[in-house]
């Protein structure tokens, strides 16, 4: 067991527990202080760990931009679950999305970064904001009662951080494992491996064959429309069905104009 990691996890649990909204005696400042300590400890730990791995595997090391975006992501995710006002939660979620888009660009997933911003920040979050404004509590209260309290914060934090601690301990103990050896060796192998994988056993895609010169979007498109063509169509159907269902669910419950059987859609 890695005690430094365990201590950092416990500190994180404490800070989330303090930051969660509670009715009386808010401890946000203490929680934020502990949270900053936790993040600093986590970064130091990662730095030390990456330094240790540097000798074992090439190219290990901590990217400055990874640290930056990861910090923004974790802080804004914490703010989403801890902020008492739902609208601010939604805005912090947008910040989380932007940070993750930055991380995706670091991972050579530029298309996914843009898609994430368009779909999450542009579509899903706008829907959330609309619903938050539609379903605001009556009267002139700024924060509803149920947003000031949480149920079982101790239990939730304990269970979740035991899970997190276990996962992290498993990941950060020991040396790089043997499954690395099975990986294609370099950039040249990539395009080849992809080509073989995508085109294996398939009638020839007329054009274009995946090569190492293709861009990320092209490779993604070929992958989606050859290997995952059927799931992609099913996903489209699922999305249509769910949108129609959402419209039906959220319809106003108005009395029908005539008797049943007039061809009108049934209300609830």
């Amino acid at each position: 067991m890695d005690y430094a990691l365990a201590v950092a996890t416990a500190l994180g649990a404490l800070s989330i527990y303090l930051l969660l909204p509670r009715g009386r005696g808010s401890l946000v400042k203490t929680g934020a202080l502990v949270g900053v300590l936790t993040l600093g400890a986590a970064m130091l730990y990662l730095l030390r760990w990456a330094g240790l791995q540097e000798g074992v595997s090439q190219g290990a090391g901590l990217n400055v931009f990874f640290c930056l975006f990861a910090l923004i992501a974790v802080i804004s995710a914490t703010a989403v679950i801890c902020h008492p006002r739902p609208l601010y939660c939604a805005l912090y979620f947008v910040l989380l999305t932007l940070a993750l888009a930055g991380l995706f660009i670091l991972l050579f997933a530029q298309f996914m970064a843009i898609v994430l911003i368009i779909i999450y920040a542009g579509a899903i979050l706008v829907t959330y904001v609309f619903v938050i404004m539609l379903a605001s509590p009556g009267g002139n209260v700024t924060v509803a009662d149920y947003d000031r309290v949480t149920t079982n914060p101790l239990l939730a934090v304990l269970v979740s951080f035991v899970l997190l601690g276990t996962v992290l301990q498993l990941m950060f103990i020991g040396k790089p494992r043997a499954f690395m050896a099975a990986r294609p060796a370099g950039p040249v192998a990539v395009g080849m491996a992809m080509g073989h994988k995508i085109l294996a056993g398939k009638p020839a895609l007329a054009d274009p064959k995946p090569t190492s010169k293709m861009g990320v979007m092209e490779l993604l498109g070929v992958n989606l429309y050859s290997q995952y063509a059927l799931p992609l169509e099913l996903a489209g159907i699922l999305l249509t069905i769910s949108l129609v269902g959402a419209v039906m669910i959220a319809r106003k419950n108005e009395p029908a104009a005539g008797v049943l059987g007039t061809g009108q859609m049934p209300t609830e």
Partner: protein, 105 residues
């Protein structure tokens, strides 16, 4: 694309785990129905980080393809969930999930 070392992969995986756990806490602890669904979106994001990091590590596009499906599911879930939230809000004029606690088995 240069090869990604396993150490870097683990950094991304730990970030994904942290995001997932934060979403889990929000899902269990918060009372506001909208925020509960927002917490599931945080969990989705954590999984998306994992998938894309693995795809980058193994040098194939499967991770990114899976994230596209994940975004589809997230959009479908958000639309249905928010429709239900609107419906429930019309019934009781509150977003508190405890109001519906008589539904427990």
């Amino acid at each position: 694309m240069p090869v990604m070392s396993q150490a870097v992969l683990f950094e991304y995986l730990s970030l994904g785990a942290v995001l997932f756990v934060l979403g889990l806490i929000g899902f269990v602890a918060r009372r506001n129905m909208i925020l509960i669904f927002l917490s599931t979106e945080i969990m989705f994001q954590g999984v998306a980080v994992n998938l894309i990091a693995f795809g980058r590590y193994w040098m194939n596009m499967d991770g990114q393809s899976f994230v596209i499906f994940l975004l589809t599911i997230a959009a479908a879930e958000a639309s249905l969930a928010l429709g239900l939230v609107i419906l429930l809000f019309r019934r009781r004029e509150t977003l508190n999930v405890d109001v519906w606690s008589e539904m427990q088995g």
